[in-house]
Amino acid sequence: MSTSPYMLPEKARHQDAPSHGLSINDMFPTAIPHSAGATTAVLQPLTAKMKTEHVNFYYGKFQALHDISLEFASNKVTALIGPSGCGKSTFLRTLNRINETLRDTRLEGSITLDGENILDKDVTEIRRRIGMVFQRPNPFPKSIYDNIIYGPKINGMLKGKNAAEIVEKSLRRAALWDEAKDKLHESAYALSGGQQQRLCIARALAVDPEMLLLDEPCSALDPIATAKIEDLLVGLKSQCTIVIVTHNMQQAARVADTTGFFLLGRLIEHAKTDIIFKNPSKKETEDYITGRFG
């Protein structure tokens, strides 16, 4: 559990901070009492829901991640950006240990969830607590209802609970209820792409995850469907910690509280989103941002 002590704003200036390992509390200097007289009692320090330390990841002999240390603040949205092939997906997929299902891979370093190393815990329990949404919508070839109920069923969460209630609640949280309520028992493939992606979000939410990992969830969607999902994510923050990989920098700017910039398997910089986009401390970040925006 990382509840690092407050730092003075000057010290928190990202320019002085190490490229990674920057504590999330350093990023939100507004939470810091400026004058002696200010009331600070209501301001809670940010806690890190998840923390990675010195993570290296290898596909066979190829090292895809180099020494990544990053904190994900509770109930915030963290965006991961960077050019194609820089390791964003790889990093995201180490966080729920789905990458270890690939052959011949190796992870070094530690990843903690609420202070506990996820590598020591039961992997199915970890994956239940950390939901994942993939780049392309991937509903099961089942009905909408059965798609949502699958997670609760295998995790033994249906005992004494009304399955229909879980389905409705999950669909509402994913802002799909109104569109889907009349066709719950129809095939999930009858939905549009954007609806399918929200169904996948609903399916992930049905097991009450504490974190939600999304890998370019909108890259196959049109702007309207994208906007719906972005709104949805901002609304979900109060209930879970969100990490989103995106190629779309406006999207990061719209939804993310903090943004991490990856390059060639390294985390170059992680800071508040507006700082990354307006005043990045690293030359590489600036080049990437400005390169994209001309």
Partner: protein, 321 residues
């Protein structure tokens, strides 16, 4: 075809070419497609004509009678239909669970290298001529069945009619087992393809929800691939129904219906192969041709049911084709 057309084109600039390349190709391919249908119809026609003496004499009784007596010229197909269906069913009963299980191992658990090597070997098995299977069956499976497996089955289930009677070594069960070995490669390799075609995202979606590897394979991957697996089963069935040589060598050649799986029997393909050369009388050979017609109809029927099942399961909103 195109080249001469191109060469002569300058002299034809004022006229449309008599026939364009596209039209020619269309006509050509249509011809081949039509040929398939013509050949099939010719086949049915021949079977129909050749069997008409038997059809006229026995009528519908041919299908329901279990009398097969060349001496009195009385013929009934039931023992052969029964033997064909029973041996095929036994074969699938053994080879479907084994084959699908092996396919799951090869696609989900084995390393790609091992999987490819084993699949290569399994596909080699499919290329072995069936007479070889028959020989192996006669020299090793039949004694094994007679001396060990059938007595053991009788000890365990001897009180039921299914395993009653003496252990000959040849019979329905032995034929079913050799057919199982012969259908096995088809079921494995087609099911494996179907399983490997399941997108990785499907497995990962299940795993990411907290499913175990087993749950994801059993509840997500297998249902996703069920059409392909069903296809492999029907492919195996088609092979089992029509398989002649190996079955002929171990079925026991008894044109009667027995409740016991250990008893000798006969299949349609086996009786045709065995008796056609000695079928002297007109009625005798006509009855054998009618058996051929029945086998043809049986395979058509089963294929039709298969197609229907596939259409129905696709409609019910499962994996898009």
């Amino acid at each position: 075809m195109a080249t001469p057309a191109a060469v002569v084109r300058p002299t034809r600039t004022l006229r449309k070419p008599l026939i364009s390349g596209d039209e020619l190709a269309k006509a050509f391919t249509f011809f081949f497609a039509a040929l398939i249908i013509v050949v099939t119809f010719a086949l049915v026609w021949q079977l129909w004509i050749g069997s008409s003496p038997a059809k006229e004499k026995f009528g519908f009784r041919f299908l329901t009678s279990s009398l097969w007596n060349p001496v009195t010229d009385e013929y009934g197909a039931l023992p052969f239909i029964y033997g064909t269906l029973l041996t095929s069913f036994l074969a699938l009963l053994i080879s479907v669970p084994l084959g699908v299980g092996a396919a799951i191992y090869l696609s989900e658990l084995a390393s790609p290298r091992l999987s490819n090597t084993l699949t290569f070997l399994v596909e080699l098995l499919a290329a072995v001529p069936s007479v070889i299977f028959g020989l192996i069956a006669i020299f090793s499976l039949v004694p094994l069945m007679r001396d060990y497996i059938e007595p053991a089955l009788q000890n365990a289930f001897g009180s039921t009619p299914l395993f009653s009677g003496p252990a000959f070594g040849v019979g329905y069960l032995t034929a079913g087992m050799i057919l199982a070995v012969m259908t096995f490669p088809f079921i494995i390799s087609v099911s494996r393809e179907a399983l490997m075609a399941v997108p990785r995202e499907q497995r990962e979606a299940a795993l990411a929800l907290g499913a175990t590897k087993w749950e994801s394979t059993w509840q997500i991957v297998l249902p996703f691939a069920k059409l392909g697996i069903l296809g492999s089963v029907f492919l195996g069935l088609a092979r089992a129904l029509g398989e002649t040589m190996a079955v002929t060598m171990v079925i026991g050649n008894d044109p009667a219906i027995h409740a016991s799986l250990l008893a000798p029997g006969y299949t349609i393909a086996a009786v045709i192969a065995n008796e056609f050369t000695e079928a002297s009388g007109k009625m005798y050979s006509s009855a054998l041709v009618e058996l051929g017609l029945v086998l043809f109809a049986l395979t058509m029927l089963i294929n039709g049911v298969a197609q229907l099942m596939i259409v129905l399961t696709t409609k019910k909103g499962s994996a898009k084709a």
